[in-house]
């Protein structure tokens, strides 16, 4: 085994229903305003709430990369333009060289909305319309390829697709790319856009909530599906760019239990949190805040609480922020990594928006209200279908 790398984070941004860029997201976290809304996504004809990004319909991908145009690539583009992030990536390529910068993005459904539209337009023989281009939209790697071409990154480029843990696991991959001296910097992130497959899919599993999601609440009724995109730049320590935070540890595990239900005692969740602490070489006591996976489903929230208590006891403050963003699925990892990085930067612990009456069986220290305080280490959890778990530990930069 080789010594784990501790990459520094030199930039991050995100787009979701709260808005575009860090100021909009932080503003919503501080004000406690949720942007979830009753479902108005075209074609989704049932009662639920969603986290929808404004403006995607009106901002197609144009120019030489127009072949990639689809909701997912539009969302990726919007996230890259947020906080002028694309300039940070260019600057990084300038400093490190295009072949020394890698790209690892997470998504669950990529541009499958194009496939949904195409199937509605099948002709009498069942053939798909000519405009449909699977390879550059629905293919799981399409958005990543679009981002590589847009930014000019030439280093190793891959997509992680492990459902709702996808864009958390990209941090672990980036860390390995730096550890093995394959890259000096890696652009990580994730993009997942609303589509009928996930809306009706979670409905078919009876997991969508008819109301705004209320993670950890005694009367929670399920998920609000959202969409989002986000990016972070990870670099080998010692570069000239300012280090904003450190990726202290990463942990990954599998439940080995069921495709769509978590292990009842949260064994896989506990293993991934434990592995993150172990790879950082720290004890549970150093963690000041845990950003929970906290989907709002009956089972997830309870099981995650058991796993947290098993490892951390009942004191460590924790919350789910999906009451703000909804569950952005393949983008949940990066969305909540960005929120965790804001918590570190601001000394701000977001509350568990939507919580009215805490589930008495959930015995972890759920923060009902946001508060300020010293934040030196934040742990972020992301768990996906297939029992795929990832936990990330972020710390403050010493510089």
């Amino acid at each position: 085994m080789i010594e784990p790398a501790r990459p520094v984070i030199t930039g991050y941004t995100a787009v979701n229903c709260l808005g575009t860029g860090l100021d909009a997201i932080l503003g919503a976290l501080r004000s406690g305003a949720s942007s979830l809304r009753p479902c108005d996504f075209p074609g989704a004809d049932f009662e639920t709430w969603i986290g929808r990004v404004e403006g995607l319909e009106d901002n197609p991908v144009t120019g030489p990369l127009a072949v990639y145009d689809c909701r997912n690539s539009r969302l990726a583009l919007m996230a890259l333009q947020a906080d002028d992030f694309v300039d940070r990536v260019s600057d990084c390529i300038g400093r490190r060289g295009a072949r020394r910068v890698g790209l690892v993005l997470g998504t669950s459904t990529s541009g499958i909305q194009e496939g949904e539209r195409a199937f509605l337009e099948r002709d009498a023989d069942g053939k798909l319309p000519d405009w449909f281009d699977y390879r550059h939209s629905q293919d799981v790697h399409a958005t990543t390829e679009f981002v590589a071409r847009l930014t000019g990154i030439e280093g190793p480029t891959l997509t992680v697709s492990t459902a709702c843990s996808s864009s958390a696991k990209v941090f672990a991959d980036a860390r390995q790319l730096i550890e093995h001296d394959i890259c000096d910097a890696v652009l990580v992130g994730g993009v997942d856009s609303l589509c009928l497959l996930t809306l009706y899919g979670f409905r078919s599993l009876e997991l969508t909530s008819p109301e705004r999601c209320r993670p950890n609440d005694a009367h929670r009724t399920g998920l609000s599906i959202g969409e989002g995109g986000g990016f972070a730049l990870l670099e080998r320590p010692g570069g000239s760019a300012q280090a904003l935070a450190v990726l202290e540890g990463t942990g990954e595990s599998s439940d080995a239990y069921h495709m769509s239900s978590p292990h009842p005692e949260g064994l896989g969740a506990r293993l991934s949190m434990q592995a993150a602490l172990q790879s950082a070489g720290v004890e549970p006591e150093v963690v000041d805040y845990i950003n929970l996976h906290g989907t709002g489903s009956k089972v997830n929230d309870l099981v995650e609480s058991r796993a947290v208590i098993g490892l951390f006891g009942r004191d460590t403050p924790c919350s789910s922020t999906k009451g703000w963003t909804g569950h952005t699925l393949g983008a949940a990892g990066i969305t909540e990594a960005v929120i965790s990085l804001l918590a570190l930067r601001e000394g701000f612990l977001p509350g568990n928006l939507g919580l009215e009456e805490k589930d008495p069986e959930i015995e972890s220290n759920i923060l009902v209200q946001s508060r300020t305080g010293a934040v030196r280490h934040v742990l972020s959890n992301s768990f996906g279908f297939g029992g795929n778990n990832c936990s990330l530990l972020f710390g403050r930069s010493s510089s």
Binding site: F119, R135, H141, S161, A172, Y200, G201, L205
Partner: protein
């Protein structure tokens, strides 16, 4: 990055396993064209075995071949799965249902539609709680998965199951991605030399271009050209032919804009 191989699995039309592949590569057997048969995954039980999607049958078949050859318990392996297609039949069926009456979307199809369904079922069947991932890079999914698996074998403390697979799309999606046959391949990779090491691989970036070396045997040339997972075949050929003291180097494709090369030795 130096890793060791202790197990190999392969499956495609006319080549159901590694022993058959070795015989064909060595010229000891004649290739016979045949329809692909998806072996039911013995590792799964009851309804999960009966209802396993094509991608899961294929991936678990080659994964279990490689694991059995290595002699390691599945629970002791981390896993890196790679695929361009995921499960095409499930996508075609789900997209048709969404177009016709979305309220009838099958919950089982939905949770099996995730790209990591294969590795999820592998974890359930093998009992492995180690980290597992599912990656893709379209046509370059094999080089991407190999790079990730080699890093994982060296960064982690357990051997890694690398498994790549692609499943043909049914109509009408087949026009978009015409694959002649399913192809799956698997390797067990170690960061430290195991007692039963079959070969040693040095995996690294390569400045001399991204064009992959082609397979020598003619019978799987078409699969190689059209199925991303078949990018593994030239490496399998070299592994089948490797002799003590000999070295061989091939390019397996691109990771991003850079070639990925593998040096094979004993």
């Amino acid at each position: 990055m130096r890793v060791w191989v202790s197990g190999i699995g392969v499956s495609t039309a006319g080549v159901p396993d590694w022993e058959t592949a070795r015989g064909l590569i060595a010229g000891e057997r004649e290739f016979e064209e045949s329809e692909y048969f998806y072996r039911p995954p013995e590792m799964l039980h009851g309804a999960e075995r009966r209802r396993a999607p094509a991608s899961v049958k294929l991936a678990l078949d080659v994964a279990e071949q490689a694991r059995a050859m290595s002699g390691i318990e599945g629970a002791e392996l981390a896993a890196v799965f790679g695929s361009m297609t995921g499960d095409g039949p499930i996508f075609a069926r789900s997209l048709a249902t969404l177009a016709e009456d979305p309220h009838y979307l099958s919950p089982t199809d939905f949770h099996n539609s995730v790209h990591n369904a294969t590795v999820g079922y592998w974890a359930i069947a093998s009992g492995s709680r180690h980290g597992s991932t599912s990656v893709t890079a379209a046509e370059e999914s094999f080089p991407a998965a190999l790079l990730k698996a080699a890093m994982q074998a060296l960064s982690g403390d357990v051997p890694v199951l690398l498994c790549v697979y692609d499943v043909p799309f049914p109509t009408p999606l087949d026009v978009q991605l015409p694959l002649p046959a399913p192809v799956g391949g698997a390797l067990i990779l170690h960061g430290e030399r195991p007692a039963n090491a079959f070969a040693c691989l040095d995996v690294g970036l390569f400045d001399g271009g991204v064009a992959p070396d082609e397979p020598a045997s003619r019978f799987w040339k078409q699969a190689f050209e059209l199925v991303p997972s078949a990018r593994m075949i030239p490496l399998l050929e070299r592994l089948a032919q490797r002799k003590a003291g000999e070295e061989d180097e091939i390019t397996v494709g691109a990771v991003g804009s850079i070639g990925l090369a593998v040096k094979i030795s004993r």
